[in-house]
């Protein structure tokens, strides 16, 4: 990897949000393939930070600053991409279920998915099953990602999946779930396709779901 790409990757990992724009501009001036900047520097960096978060090396504050840094980099690159190069891997519809206003976990997953090349539609918080199903029919995503922080709102996830089944949507869309009180067993019980314990795992899971694993 070129020195500039290495520097960009490290800057995202270290959250050097003041330096990133200059570094990305240098890479653009050096005519480095834009997709390489995204894939080899930005996505690699976010994967790295996701792993560090997973093993307790970094925490949410550091992840948020890395995400901010990555967003600044993408803001320079995206307008320069040709239409065919900017085609997203897949579309993920994200939301926190009804009764739950917690959004940090969901926001981190959104940022990481965007960084990993997914098109993310963030529907926000406190979403009831009807609203979510309506949006699935409208947007036709590849994956629906549901988040809940409260144990009180976990059962809402089941309602969303049941509502999708009733409308005949379940076989067309993968469902992934996450949030502090959940685990893989719960995900399986409610009929989701997978569970991610943190934002890094959610990205890996989304990649697997899209690849059909």
């Amino acid at each position: 990897m070129s020195a500039t790409l290495e520097q960009i990757k490290q800057a995202v990992i270290d959250g050097k949000h003041k330096e990133i724009e200059g570094l990305v501009q240098t890479a653009v001036d050096q005519k480095i393939d834009l997709n390489r900047i995204i894939n080899d520097a930005l996505i690699e960096a976010m994967d790295d930070i996701g792993k560090k978060f997973g093993c307790g090396e970094v925490f949410v504050p550091e992840m948020l600053v890395s995400a901010l840094t990555m967003k600044k980099a993408l803001a320079i690159i995206k307008p320069l991409l040709k239409a065919e190069d900017s085609k997203a891997k897949a579309t993920v519809l994200m939301g926190t279920v009804k009764g739950d206003l917690h959004d940090i976990g969901k926001n981190l997953v959104c940022i990481m998915l965007e960084g990993a090349g997914f098109e993310v539609v963030d529907l926000g918080v406190d979403l009831n099953a009807e609203k979510l199903v309506e949006k699935v029919m409208e947007i036709k995503p590849d994956i629906v990602g549901l988040s809940a922080l409260l144990t009180t709102t976990m059962p809402e996830m089941q309602k969303v999946i049941s509502a999708m089944r009733e409308k005949g949507l379940r076989s067309k869309v993968k469902v992934m779930v996450g949030g502090a009180p959940l685990d893989a067993k719960f995900a399986e019980k409610i009929g989701a396709d997978g569970y991610g314990k943190d934002a890094g795992e959610a990205v890996q899971l989304a990649r697997r779901l899209v690849a059909g694993d």
């Binding site: 959250g15 949000h17 978060f53 307790g56 970094v58 925490f59 949410v60 504050p61 550091e62 992840m63 948020l64 600053v65 901010l68 009764g99 206003l101 959004d103 940090i104 926001n107 409260l150 144990t151 009180t152 976990m154 059962p155 502090a180 009180p181 959940l182 685990d183 067993k185 719960f186 943190d198």
Partner: protein
């Protein structure tokens, strides 16, 4: 109370309600429901008493939401419903401007109601059942004032002055509220400050909160239990250093490890799993966890955090029954 100071042990540890043990079944048994019990002192006290008289907890705890102070500081609080806990709808100090603490903050309805509920409880069970009060620490209040993600981003951006200024402006509130709760009749006060494992690291706690917690514990005369969620294995010693008498912890912190690390320095309270055990498990699952905690040397047995509202009351009774089996 003796358990808090690791004094005379008796034949069993106490089963305590530190956060909230309110579930639908308890609301039905008490004839009092959310959201009424968040805003009415009589209803609040009634529901707290039911935790003792119906389930058998050795304490009564009348504050169920984490938004009482937020409401007094200008947040628009939606008090929720029977099925939903309260939540704030806005962040009045998202720009980190100076927090205006009302001079008469203890007289604001959302704080007054807690003080009045504690007074009612003192009249009913004072001296017989331990009355537990609760205040939010400055970190949790800063989440409510500025927004959680916003505060954590500022931590990441190392805006130390900005954050410390807000924490210092807020720290007088838990001190005043805790002292008022003791005066009203609380035997113990819980200080909930969500410096939660995985949200922030031990180094953040040491940098931002430890000095402030030390000042708070020095100011408040009365037994204080710290409540912090998440996996806090890496900061247990810091909590003991902060001067709290007890620490209320989650299942993610293994009881045996916690006792080994800080059991000689701080009373440990916890840590029956909410989602998988109390909410989704069976009474025998609850018993197993209670017995594990007792055998590990946990001083008081409690759910790890505010329980899900749909928790079956049988599981809470199973917690108490397992405690009654003794050491």
């Amino acid at each position: 109370m003796s358990a808090l100071y690791q004094g005379k042990k008796g034949i069993r540890p106490p089963a305590v309600s530190v956060t909230s043990v309110v579930c639908h079944d308890l609301m039905d048994a008490a004839g009092v429901s959310f959201p009424h019990a968040h805003v009415n002192a009589g209803a609040m006290a009634e529901l707290a008493l039911a935790g003792h008289s119906v389930i058998g907890f050795d304490t009564v705890m009348p504050e169920y939401s984490v938004h009482q102070e937020a409401a007094a500081l200008g947040c628009e609080v939606d008090w929720g419903s029977r099925d939903q806990m309260p939540d704030s709808r806005n962040f009045p100090y998202a720009d980190f401007s100076d927090v205006v603490v009302p001079e008469n903050i203890l007289e604001k309805p959302s704080l007054r109601v807690v003080l009045d509920a504690i007074s009612i409880l003192r009249r009913h069970v004072g001296g017989k059942v331990a009355i537990v009060g609760k205040v939010m620490g400055p970190w949790t209040l800063a989440y409510h004032m500025a927004g959680t993600q916003n505060l954590l981003l500022q931590v990441g951006l190392e805006e130390k002055d900005k954050i410390t200024r807000m924490l210092r402006q807020l720290m007088s509130i838990p001190i005043a509220f805790a002292q008022a709760q003791f005066q009203a009749g609380a035997d113990i006060v819980v200080l909930a400050d969500h410096a939660t494992g995985s949200l922030i690291g031990a180094h953040h706690y040491r940098e931002y909160l430890l000095p402030i917690h030390r000042e708070i514990t020095a100011e408040i005369e009365g037994p204080l239990i710290l409540h912090v969620c998440g996996n806090c294995m890496d900061r247990l010693e810091l909590f003991a250093d902060a001067g709290f008498d007890g620490y209320h912890f989650e299942w993610q912190v293994d009881s045996k490890v916690a006792v080994k690390k800080v059991g000689h320095r701080i009373c440990l309270i916890g840590n029956v799993k909410n989602a998988q055990t109390l909410f989704q498990g069976k009474p025998e699952d609850v018993r197993k966890q209670v017995r594990y905690a007792i055998e590990a040397g946990v001083n008081m047995i409690a759910p790890e955090c505010a329980i899900p509202l749909a928790t079956p009351i049988e599981n809470l009774k199973a917690l108490v029954a397992a405690v009654h089996e003794g050491y």
